[in-house]
Amino acid sequence: MSAWMDLLEQLSQLSALPGFLGLLITASVIAVVREWRFAVWALLIQYVLIGLLHLRLLAPELALVRVLSGVLVCPMLYWAARWVESERAHKAEIERREIAAQKSEVPLPPLPWPIQPTNWGFRLLAILLLSVVLYSVSRRFPLPDIAADIAPSCLWLAMIGLFGLVLSPEPLPAGMGLLTLVSGFGLYYDTMSPGLAGVGLLAAVDLVMGLAISYLITVRALTGEVL
């Protein structure tokens, strides 16, 4: 047990810069990449990186609670998205066979996941623009009462989260945007020393939010027979 605590203690001494660079990449992947598997993996890594930053601000046990609650959200999203994808693929295959039987020509299989309203190029450019905004904002309006090397991570996560929410009405990408935004806020909220009960409630919010987003992902795909 003490070995674990020593490890956590050593991790809490790490500089925030590698964590911030990692968050730059993971949040960008969540916002830019259309393939949901990459996005969910990026979200998982993002929660671990945020956990390392939590170690700087919270007691190790509390930081671990935050990491665990975040990490548990990812399988919920994964199973929901996977179920929807397989259902869509199954329905599309049936339709394809029906069309092929009627018209004696086989249409191309449809995409299993709806196309996002913006293409990846647009989203990448927007991310680059947001990083410039982050640089400017963090220099001119620094967040109060938080270490200068952690503040950019909070701002970045909040900005990318809002960007994700604006981009799509679909529950999966918008939900991942919301979770990113909330994790950025959670990092900043650590400065208010929430205590065990506060961290516990925030973890409960994370978990129930993950569950709610997973439910929305499945409900969105249903057409009425199941409800």
Binding site: P169, L178, G195, L201, T223, L227
Partner: protein, 544 residues
């Protein structure tokens, strides 16, 4: 006899969770699950209201399996306190009564498996938020309840997730600035702002401005002020009929209670009238947008959303008066609105069910002819929300107008009164125009030979009542239907007719109950006004 002392807040929370679990276990029998949810909620509301009225049911003790049981006011966990105060009991009584009525009146219409269990779980978490004596925990519990509300809002309308997603996003965005508020209210960052025995600290000018901005931002988002009103309209457009009154009643009650307790503990937050200006101007904007939007709608749900926005804005204008009477008026309007929305939910539910869960006017044209009582409920509820004279909505709005309007020529009415009257007239006109469109569609459908089958027709023919959007839009249902034997078809038709008759009976009963409730509210508003007064508590305004 040994007396068992039950911690009051925990009792209400646990009872609601147990009811939720029971409703979930019975979700295959929605009528039974709904009856248990409604009955349980109303009984708990009765317990809370008896305690307010000085007749504590469990406070004096009751016999429980040969053992005395008593309900205590206080409950502590991890050093945090939850307490049944006069204001929290008023909020609890109000929330549980209205929640129970939503469950009861939702019985005839399918609202999805999650409506009752998650509705009860939401009420349970909100009970803890109402009774929390620490502001931060009240907010975190509101956030948690907002996440659970997603399940209530997304059920019953297959494929429709916009209202639930917007609601989740807005609650999350609204809670965040309010959670940061304590940093600017106390010298100790971990201090709690709602502590009955602590004096409110004086704010420095800069911290005070930041605190006011954070509070205004959080309140504006949580109370759906313009431009954050999208979730309110989306709920009307995309949520199931009775999810709208449920969401617009229980959550705002707790949010208002939390705001009032915050202002009670920190009156400095109300200095400078900034918050009231925000409420007043966003209220006027909401009334204006709602009136305008109500004029051009072609769907009942969207119309309900915009007409609700008019009433919502009027409530914000009342709060923006910056007086205690204004705050009480806002809570009273919340109650009148809840009853109007219940009426809308009952009427719309009837039409919604008859049209195979679609709410566009063309679809509902035939249902209007078949269900005049449902249409009457819907139109009465919408007119009440629009503030039509002598309706509950109109009576709720009247105190905002009487002093400014009575005995004055129109040219001398204040701008707020003019906007209120004009928007109310526009919203009422919108309701009448929509009904007219619906009736003209009915006439066209009678004149033409190409009448499409409604949800009820399909049910009577022994087919599925739950029509999918794809199924109803392309009209090629025959392709997907399996061939059936004649006997099975006859049996199915008989069962469907029986179910249809039961639903019609239940629907008529629920409609009559809704009318009776509305009549009781109009004829005897005293207890509700008293409840609103108690919810505001000891809050004092400098404008008084």
């Amino acid at each position: 006899m040994n007396t068992l002392v039950l911690p009051g807040p925990l009792f209400f929370f646990a009872a609601l969770l147990v009811l939720g679990a029971l409703a979930y276990a019975l979700n295959r029998w929605p009528l039974l699950a709904g009856a248990i949810a409604a009955g349980g909620c109303l009984v708990l509301a009765w317990v809370a209201l008896r305690r307010i009225g000085g007749m504590p049911l469990l406070g004096q003790g009751v016999d429980l399996l040969g053992r005395g049981a008593r309900l205590s006011s206080r409950f502590e966990l991890l050093g945090r306190t939850w307490m049944l105060t006069k204001s929290s009991l008023a909020g609890l009584g109000l929330m549980l009564t209205l929640g129970g009525l939503c469950f009861l009146l939702a019985l005839p219409t399918p609202h999805g498996w999650a409506f009752y269990p998650f509705g009860l779980a939401t009420l349970g978490v909100l009970t803890l938020a109402l009774t929390a004596q620490q502001y931060v925990y009240a907010l975190l519990l509101i956030w948690l309840a907002g996440c659970l509300m997603v399940f209530v809002l997304a059920g019953g309308r297959p494929g429709e997730t916009t209202a639930a997603l917007r609601s989740l996003v807005m609650i999350s965005l609204g809670v965040m600035p309010l959670l940061l508020l304590p940093r600017y209210l106390t010298t100790d960052a971990a201090g709690y702002v709602i502590a009955p025995d602590s004096a409110a600290p004086a704010l420095t000018i800069q911290a005070g401005q930041t605190a006011m901005l954070l509070m205004a931002a959080g309140m504006a988002i949580l109370l759906s002020m313009v431009p954050f009103h999208g979730q309110l309209v989306a709920m009307g457009r995309h949520a199931a009929p009775m999810a709208l009154p449920f969401a617009l009643t229980v959550l705002p009650t707790v949010v208002l209670h939390t705001c009032f307790r915050l202002w009670e503990a920190h009156p400095a937050l109300l200095s400078g009238e900034f918050v009231f200006d925000v409420c007043r101007w966003t209220g006027i904007a909401a009334v204006f947008l709602g009136g305008l939007g109500a004029l051009g709608q072609r769907r009942w749900g969207a119309l309900a959303g915009y007409v609700t926005l008019v009433d919502w804005g009027a409530g914000l204008i009342a709060l923006g008066l910056g007086t205690r009477a204004g705050a009480e008026q806002m809570v009273q309007m919340l109650i009148w609105r809840a009853f109007s929305l219940l009426l809308v939910g009952v009427g719309w539910g009837t039409i919604f069910r008859a049209t195979g869960r679609r709410d566009d006017l063309e679809r509902s044209a035939d249902a209007v002819r078949r269900h005049p009582l449902g249409v009457l409920m819907l139109v009465l509820g919408l007119l009440s929300l629009a503030g039509f004279p002598l309706s509950p909505g109109g009576l709720g709005r009247w105190p905002l107008l009487d002093r400014a309007v009575l005995g004055q020529p129109v040219s001398e009415w204040p701008a707020t009164a003019r906007v209120l009257v004009l928007a109310g007239a526009a919203a009422s006109l919108g309701v009448v125009v929509t009904l007219g469109r619906c009736l003209s569609s009915t006439a066209r459908s009678h004149a033409g030979d190409d009448r499409r089958p409604t949800g009820e027709d399909r049910a009577a023919d022994g087919q599925e009542t739950k029509a999918s959007p794809a199924e109803t839009s392309d009209g090629n249902q025959e392709k997907t239907q399996e061939p059936r034997t004649e006997r099975r078809g006859a049996q199915g038709a008989q069962q469907a007719r029986r179910r249809q008759e039961l639903e019609a009976l239940l629907s008529a009963g629920v409609s009559l109950l809704a009318i009776w409730l509305l009549g009781a509210l109009v004829l005897a508003p005293g207890p509700w006004i008293e409840l609103a007064r108690r919810l505001v508590g000891n809050l004092a305004f400098s404008g008084n």
